[in-house]
Homo-oligomer: 234 residues x 2
């Protein structure tokens, strides 16, 4: 049963499409802090129309980016099964960096937990938006673990790299890719080369001083990083 989108009046359906399209453009350029008034104006509708279609801003954001999050999972899955895991690994990171470099909103969405440029986080409760992000991260992480093992077996990756390390590296590269890309599109390829070269095995690799984060530790940290609203009484 398709959602009741079918039941929408024609003009309403057209407006909905336009809103999603323009919202994507506005978020991509100005980030998720763009106001709903701006989105509405870009789409040529009133704010009321936004609220008729989407319960709140979070749901609009989710609607705009759901497909892209699914695509990220698909990419990870495909990479994990690629013929040459070493190359697939590098391409995986490059692809992610590209997405982030070209869409400020997507960057804020996925890195939001790691850099909390945002205010939403409610009372720590799981909005459907944060739930979707969690789901994406979990899925990507699973495929990534497979990819890493295969890359190590192929001798393309140092043995002491954990999936959570790659997630941190990914976040780090991506958080910079966006802004650096303003100066010169594609500049993040330098970063990636330097970092990926560092992940290849070598005889004189430095020893790792601490154990990698567990998945649990990482996801808890990402969640917690957006906790606020609590001031020591004095």
């Amino acid at each position: 049963m398709p959602p009741q989108t079918t039941r929408l009046r024609r003009d309403a359906r057209e407006n909905r499409e336009r809103v999603l399209l323009e919202a994507a453009a506005v978020f991509a350029e100005h980030g998720l802090t763009a106001t709903l008034a701006d989105v509405a104006k870009a789409a040529g509708v009133g704010v009321g129309t936004l609220y008729r279609r989407f319960p709140d801003k979070d749901e609009l954001i989710l609607a705009v980016y759901q497909a892209r999050m699914d695509a990220a999972v698909t990419l990870a899955e495909r990479s994990s099964g690629a013929a040459d895991p070493g190359t697939a690994f590098r391409e995986f990171i490059e692809h992610g960096a590209h997405d982030f470099a070209t869409d400020r909103g997507f960057r804020e969405l996925v890195l939001g937990g790691l850099t909390d440029a945002l205010g939403w986080s409610r009372s720590g409760a799981a909005t459907s938006l944060s739930a979707a992000i969690d789901r994406m991260n979990t899925a990507v992480s699973g495929h990534l673990a497979v990819l890493l093992e295969r890359a190590k077996a192929a001798g393309a990756l140092r043995e002491d790299v954990a999936p959570t390390d790659v997630q941190l590296i990914n976040a780090a590269v991506q958080s910079v890719a966006g802004v650096a890309g303003l100066a010169r599109p594609g500049i993040h390829h330098r970063l990636i080369i330097m970092i990926v070269d560092g992940l290849r095995p070598r005889d004189d690799s430095s020893p790792m001083p601490v154990a990698p984060l567990t998945e649990e530790e990482l996801s808890r940290a990402v969640r917690n990083s957006a906790r606020d609203r609590d001031m020591p009484p004095h």
Copy 2:
């Protein structure tokens, strides 16, 4: 001639000290978006008192972090003249990561341009705050260039690494160090090892696909990344 701090009434001077101390604590824990009301409450004064001492929030932030910015420059300078440039380079990055991992406000301040988690940026005009950050970045960058050359000469660093590359790497590491540190303090040492290992020379280094950013490009991008307030009419 010392600033008219000397002319402050005793209670006023004490309040000022307390404000700076508590503001540092509040910013470190909650970031620069902490409200002035929160800072005032923590210091046990009214908001009016904050405004009597500091023209606006930016100036308070500057007062809180000026010393630390100076320290960063000093560190870069000392590193650039260190006996072992390879080790000094790694320690330079580790020291920066430590600072960022332990002070959310400082992280937002310095990376603000690169991740713009903030609203200030005014009309692109140079506030004294952003001017101070620019000055710090320029100074650090100068020392960094010397350090890199020495490290390359010592065979500790691949030849194709530019100072701007290191600034990007630094920003990338630091943007993650803070949040990842919530999960496990010091976890950023893994990131640093992986990355620094990647910067060492090796026979089969991957070729760099694009030229490094110039200083000019980088600083312009950092400045521009916070430009907003402009919506395509339709």
